[in-house]
Every structure is written in structure tokens, then in C-alpha cells.
């Protein structure tokens, strides 16, 4: 009985590992463009690499160097990074009951809480599979993201524009693929569309990082507003 159940779960675990490594490779490679951008914004190779090791949340890092590149002060760059990083708090909220971690493991694992590791964990039915998705994604991204940050920073402009390889389009596609399974509910679809619109409207008039955060407010509002129809269903 137990053996039979394990046999059933094994291919699924393999699927989760394979998908996680796929996300890890796709995301990790993009570290090269962060490395190149970091150096281009005036940071040293060491500073650029330190950001990937210490901050380790892509959108925050891009926002940070974006502020530096446009002539902003380092501390306002850090503040923007924190604003964007606050979404990881919400991811953690979602992950905590799924991963069921002890106190010490929580402190170490927290560093791996990012968009991709969360997305690869929250859809899993069991704690074991959620952990598989979370750690395989988080650790493979951490290794590759830092490696490619270094390579990108060293190569700098010599490797050329990452856009020539379509890497910027790959990021949007990756986010969409992560979002896709959540869109089957009409409510999610509406919230996603509204959030995207709010973000685009704010881009021309606010600092980098603010549009995405404000879009998070859409989710907050949609969650708080009472249902208009069939109040019981979820």
C-alpha cells in the first residue's frame, strides 16, 4: 500500500524537479543581463555580485541598479529594492503552512523566497512536493543567478546586448507561464487584468518599483470587497 503510493508519487516528484530546474536555468541565465546592467550603471564587478548574493530577488536588484543608472542616490535605490521586496513577505505568508519549516530552517530558507520558488511550490498538493519545488527552484536559481551575474558583470558590454537573444522577452513569457494556471477563475482574471492596467498607468508618473507594488493593492482591494454574487462559494 505504502509502496504503491510511493510509486505513484515518484514520477510526479520527478516532474516537479524537472520543471524546477527548467525555471532555474531560464531565470539563472538572466543573471547575466543583471551583471551587465549592474556594471553599466557604475557598480564594480564585486558590488554587482554582492547584490546578487545578498539581496537575491531579481526585480529588487534590477530596480536598484535602475535607480543608480538614472542618477539616483544609492540609498533611494535600496529603498526601491525594499518596496519591491515586500512582496516576498506575502509569498512567505503563503509558503509557511505549505513548507512547515522549523525555526532555524526558516531563517536560512527565507533567503530563497522569490517569485519563481514560490510559484513552483504553491500549486503542489503535499508538503513534500511543495518543498521539492521550493528548494530545487530556489537553490538552482541561487547558484546560476550568482554565477551568471559574475559572468555578465565581467563580460560587461563585450558579450553584447542580452536583448539580441530575446532574453528580455523570455522573462515576460516565464512570468506569464507561472501565472497561467491561476487564471482559470474569473476573479483572478479580472484582478490580473486590473493590476496590469494600474501598473502601466503608473509607470510614466512614478518611480521604478512603485507600479508593481500599487498593483498589489488591487489584490488587497479585491480581497476585501464583499462578493456581489453567490456569497457562499469560494
Amino acid at each position: 500500500m505504502a509502496a504503491a503510493r510511493e510509486d505513484e508519487e515518484r514520477p510526479e516528484r520527478r516532474d516537479v524537479v524537472r520543471d524546477s530546474l527548467g525555471v532555474g536555468v531560464a531565470t539563472g541565465l538572466y543573471g547575466a543581463s543583471f551583471g551587465a546592467l549592474g556594471v553599466a550603471s557604475g557598480l564594480s564587478v564585486l558590488q554587482t555580485c554582492a547584490m546578487s548574493v545578498l539581496i537575491f530577488t531579481g526585480a529588487s536588484q534590477f530596480a536598484f541598479v535602475g535607480v543608480l543608472a538614472s542618477g539616483g542616490a544609492p540609498l533611494s535605490g535600496a529603498f526601491t529594492a525594499l518596496l519591491l521586496g515586500s512582496r516576498n513577505t506575502l509569498y512567505g505568508l503563503r509558503l509557511a503552512p505549505l513548507l512547515a519549516l522549523s525555526r532555524w530552517r526558516r531563517l536560512a530558507s527565507a533567503h530563497l523566497v522569490i517569485d519563481e520558488s514560490t510559484a513552483m511550490a504553491v500549486t503542489r498538493p503535499t508538503t513534500a512536493l511543495a518543498r521539492t519545488g521550493f528548494y530545487w527552484t530556489g537553490l538552482s536559481i541561487f547558484a546560476l543567478w550568482n554565477l551568471f551575474t559574475f559572468l555578465g558583470a565581467v563580460a560587461g558590454s563585450t558579450m553584447g546586448d542580452p536583448r539580441a537573444y530575446g532574453l528580455d522577452a523570455a522573462v515576460g513569457a516565464a512570468f506569464l507561464a507561472l501565472l497561467w494556471p491561476r487564471l482559470h477563475e474569473r476573479r483572478s482574471f479580472a484582478v490580473g487584468g486590473l493590476a496590469a492596467m494600474v501598473a502601466l498607468l503608473l509607470v510614466p508618473v512614478t518611480a521604478a518599483g512603485v507600479p508593481v507594488l500599487a498593483a498589489g493593492g488591487v489584490a488587497l482591494l479585491a480581497g476585501v470587497l464583499p462578493r456581489t454574487r453567490d456569497g457562499g462559494a469560494s
Binding site: 535600496a78 509569498y91 530575446g166 476573479r187 521604478a208
Partner: protein, 101 residues
């Protein structure tokens, strides 16, 4: 020097934000309101990230090869293509488009 201070502060702050999320007692999440919001937050943030990533350059709204790449991704997702095919399909089409444009 202030650059280093800013990097360390951002690193420490981002880690603390992550720890805070993982450390919230589960009974808070069991409230239906919190659960609903926590479900919708990734949807809203991912949608906004896609929009900003694909349709903006700096503080301007733009329409370029990335939008075509996203369109390709939608088609591939409707066809139930695997994740990597979606990601690299979108990249390949965007790169190809830039090559010929």
C-alpha cells in the same frame, strides 16, 4: 562607500521581509479574508510584472518585439506547451524579429 552601505541594507532588509512572511503564525492565514488576499496577491503582482517587463522601457510605455514574444507565449500556453518551450519560444521569436527588423 554609501553604495556598499546601501547594498548591505537592501540585502538585510529584503531578507527580513522574507523571514517576516514565513514567521507569521498559521492561524492568521486561516482567516478567510487573509487567505483570499494572499491568493490574489501573486496574481496581481505577476500580472503587473509582466505588464511592466513587456510594455515599458524606463518610464515610457513601449510596444516592441517583447510584445510579440508575449503573444507567442500565449499561443504556446493555449497549446499546452511545456514551460521551457514557452519561455525559449518567446525569446527565439523576439530575437529573430530584432534580427530581421
Amino acid at each position: 562607500m554609501t553604495v556598499w552601505i546601501a547594498i548591505v541594507l537592501a540585502g538585510l532588509g529584503c531578507w527580513l521581509l522574507k523571514v517576516a512572511g514565513l514567521s507569521v503564525p498559521p492561524r492568521i492565514l486561516e482567516r478567510p479574508l487573509v487567505e483570499r488576499v494572499a491568493d490574489l496577491i501573486p496574481v496581481a503582482l505577476l500580472s503587473a510584472l509582466i505588464a511592466v517587463q513587456v510594455f515599458t522601457t524606463g518610464s515610457e510605455l513601449t510596444l516592441d518585439a517583447r510584445a510579440v514574444g508575449l503573444g507567442v507565449a500565449v499561443v504556446l500556453l493555449v497549446l499546452r506547451a511545456p514551460f521551457l518551450v514557452v519561455v525559449f519560444g518567446a525569446a527565439a521569436v523576439a530575437a529573430l524579429l530584432r534580427l530581421v527588423a
